[in-house]
Amino acid sequence: MPVSGKTYRRIRNIVLAWLTLVALAGFLLDIPRINILEHTARNLYFHVPMWFTMMAAFFVSAWRSGQYLRSRDPLRDTQALEAARVGAAFGVLGLATGVVWARFTWYVGQGIWWNFDPKQTMAAVQLLIYGAYFTLRSSVEEPEKRGRIAAVYNLFAAACVPFLLYALPRQMESLHPGAEGNPAFSDITHPTMRVVFYAAVVGFIGLFWVFYTQRVRLAILKERIEDAFRT
């Protein structure tokens, strides 16, 4: 069963307060000036955690799918679906913020919004997989069969996705830190920045957990109400 009641409320309050502090720290703390990036280096606290959250959501979703195949508990299927939905929302946000950030730093004066950066492409493909997952679900009526088929697709996608991490950087050039010829992440970030960044990642994954738990509880409630009035 999903966490509810007191524990849920306590974690939710902690997450909200935590993210408020992260936002304050992100804007108020001094950061070293880097050419081209300038103040936009602060986006590290907001754009990058979107990716971490999306991957965490993807992992949770695949994990729940595996549990569904083993137990055939409808709750597991609901959890896999809601994790994928929240993860897709974070993925869209990551893509949108990345496009804006790149437009005014890497592509300044060139007027381009989209370039096939490996990480950007990876995110786009990941969103396509989410889209395929939702399309597949909508094409099956019977709940048991829908859960089974969707879980199989989800797990198969989880087996194929790691290849993207390997294949894409070898095919496309990247401007992200850590790519070939670019300074590594730890070289261009100040220790303070790293602390705030990790705090932001934890905070946004916490926010994912809050949304995910909310929606799973809602789905269960819906199921119960429908059951109660059917009989």
Binding site: V152, A157, F163
Partner: protein, 228 residues
């Protein structure tokens, strides 16, 4: 130890033989692919005009044609089973992994036939020049194996879904991005000449690993689709 494996292999072979015999009888898939591949390549020729295409574009087009043809042709490999109500019969007599292996083998051969038609048509119409025949063959072989492994599992998924039509490309293409990238790179090296094998070693490794992982994962997951 040897006995169960021999029985498993015989079962898988029987599934494959059944599909092959059916195909040889009505030539449904082969006939369609034989029409689809040259028609699409002819369309590329009309759209691109007289301009010679670079090896990269040729390699990309070749794989696009293969991917689209496969996603159209393989979508039916389990639907026909459901249409003729033979799925239940097959379920009684063969284990899930046998069915998957048999179907995989048949689909793999179908894709290989499609590859041969596509490459020959492109050589004829688009002046495809092959510098490393062996490299091209291995890129196509490994790429087709991964493609068949993924498409066979997803075709079985779709046979259970209510709307069967255009679902396979939607499910298949996002998963095949790494395969398409590596296969197109290796094919480009095979067309360009030079140190083809050395330059595409990484791509061939990716293709092999992808095929291995896709087929292993599909074998494990096929149980859950086949046995309700």
């Amino acid at each position: 130890m040897k006995e169960p494996f021999a029985r498993w292999f015989a079962g898988a072979w029987a599934v494959f033989e059944k599909d092959l015999r059916l195909e040889l009888r009505n030539r449904h898939a082969a006939g369609m692919l034989l029409m689809f591949v040259p028609a699409s390549i002819l369309l590329i020729f009309f759209a691109a005009g007289q301009e010679p295409l670079s090896p990269r574009i040729q390699a990309g087009l070749l794989w696009i044609v293969i991917l689209f043809a496969a996603s159209i042709g393989l979508g039916r490999s389990f639907v026909s089973e459901a249409d003729r109500d033979t799925a239940l019969f097959l379920r009684m007599h063969a284990r899930a992994s046998m069915v998957y292996a048999g179907k995989l083998l048949f689909n793999f051969l179908l894709i290989l036939a499609l590859d041969v038609v596509a490459v020959l048509t492109m050589m004829l119409l688009l002046h495809l020049q092959v510098a490393h025949g062996g490299l091209l063959a291995s890129a196509i072989l490994l790429g087709s194996l991964g493609l068949a492994g993924a498409a066979t599992l997803l075709a079985a998924l779709i046979a259970q879904a209510a709307t069967r039509g255009p679902l396979l490309p939607v499910l298949l293409f996002p998963l095949l991005v790494p395969l398409l990238l590596s296969a197109a790179t290796a094919t480009r090296h095979a067309l360009e000449g030079g140190d083809g094998w050395g330059a595409s070693a990484e791509s061939l490794t990716t293709l092999t690993a992808f095929a291995g992982v896709a087929i292993t994962a599909a074998t494990l997951l096929f149980d859950f689709i086949w046995n309700d």
